[in-house]
Symmetry: C2
Subunit: 220 residues, 2 copies
DNA sequence: AATATTTTTTAGTCAAGACTAAAAATTTAT
DNA sequence: ATAAATTTTTAGTCTTGACTAAAAAATATT
């Protein structure tokens, strides 16, 4: 069954919200991310349920069916592959690609997306470190920690971010925090949980807990 | 002013029709290419006229204003650049790219299309030999002849096609008629105006007048 | 010039996807 | 346990871009 632009967006957003919780997703949460009103969401959820893409009971929230998740994963795959294209091939910065990828993710061509995947050398993650589902919709296993959970003096590598708003990414860029950077937490301030962190063995800089929480790392 | 998907399509199609005639474009002609009904076209033409993108008088047909042409040219530019991308970088054949480019042409990002242009090395023509407008909307001058108008025993090079339906392009491919091929007309049959033409100095093959008419060439 | 044919427009509908305002259900607080 | 606050749904409306059927205008034919 064909999926419209709007339907794909809803499924993608329900998927994103499901990533960080096991609970059913609330109408309001969806409304916020789709930039629509709760009433519009209710309408759409009924339609999606009718098509068998979500399980939805009035007032109970929503969750994707297997079929709905499959569609969502294909949209996510397209979004993330296009982001890699935009950064690696077109020379955009990681904070500039989201809006364009929001458009490109709806291009309908299985052949194109698979050729693009190959052209980009089958990347496992997008420019923010988010995993890219393969052709079959399987996500690569990436188990990252949050920088805010790391002990002092342990070496680690920046593998991704848990948030991809442009302002956040621009801040990271200004601090020279980019994918692959070597990090070591030098001190943790109990007062506000801010930390001082050395980036690629340079003089440590201060970052807030809020920032550290959204940096994903792998211990080396 | 923002342009919708549908509006861009109408403007593009009016532009395409205007390329081959100086007359105003009829409602029916537009309906055929947009795959809609004449009544729907009438509706849209009124809206486009209101926005100042076309000059339209009931029963008199339509023509683009300068502003409308500017929008159409930017859509055509995007369409043709994406076609180059699909063939040169993604490895599609020239008969496979039209539908995908129909989608990609509506992606809205000035920055992206200019980076793409650069990435592709500022191509002057798309995979069918159609000229690509530059950033300013200026078309490169390409004055090609139709193969059907060429005398016998004059050498020429295949520079483009005047029609890009998949079946036509597939026929050309089967005959080894691709962009850049060296051609020489060996005989012209007065009976049906079919011609026999040698391709890259090989044994001549027969092609119909209809095919020859849609092959664009440059004399060498 | 009158009639027939074709083309175009008008009028009235429809579906998708959004909205607001009000009602109903759920959750939180007293 | 009830009242208050919040969330969600319903009901009704709007815009976009399509449709069909009928009317009107333009063009072609005799």
């Amino acid at each position: 069954m064909a999926t419209s632009f709007a339907e794909e967006n809803y499924l993608k957003i329900i998927y994103r919200l499901s990533e960080s919780t096991l609970e059913d997703i609330s109408t309001n949460a969806v409304a916020e991310l789709t930039q629509t009103k709760a009433a519009s969401v209710t309408d759409m959820l009924r339609k999606l349920a009718e098509k068998g893409w979500v399980n939805y009971q009035k007032y109970q929230g929503v969750r994707l069916t297997d079929e709905g998740e499959k569609i969502a994963l294909s949209v996510v795959r397209k979004h993330r592959l296009w982001e890699v294209f935009l950064v690696d091939k077109m020379g955009f910065n990681w904070d500039e690609v989201h809006e364009i990828a929001e458009q490109l993710e709806h291009i309908e061509s299985e052949a194109l997306i698979n050729k693009l995947d190959e052209f980009l050398d089958f990347p496992k993650t997008d420019p923010h470190g988010d995993p890219i589902p393969n052709k079959e919709g399987i996500l690569p296993e990436l188990s990252y920690m949050h920088l805010s959970d790391l002990k002092e003096n342990k070496a680690c590598v920046l593998m991704g971010v848990a948030k991809d708003s442009a302002v956040f990414l621009q801040l990271l860029t200004r601090l020279h925090l980019s994918l692959g950077a070597k990090l070591m937490v030098k001190e943790i301030n109990p007062f506000d949980r801010s930390i001082s962190v050395s980036i690629n063995d340079s003089e440590p800089v201060f970052i807030s807990h809020e920032v550290a929480k959204n940096i994903l790392i792998k211990i080396v």
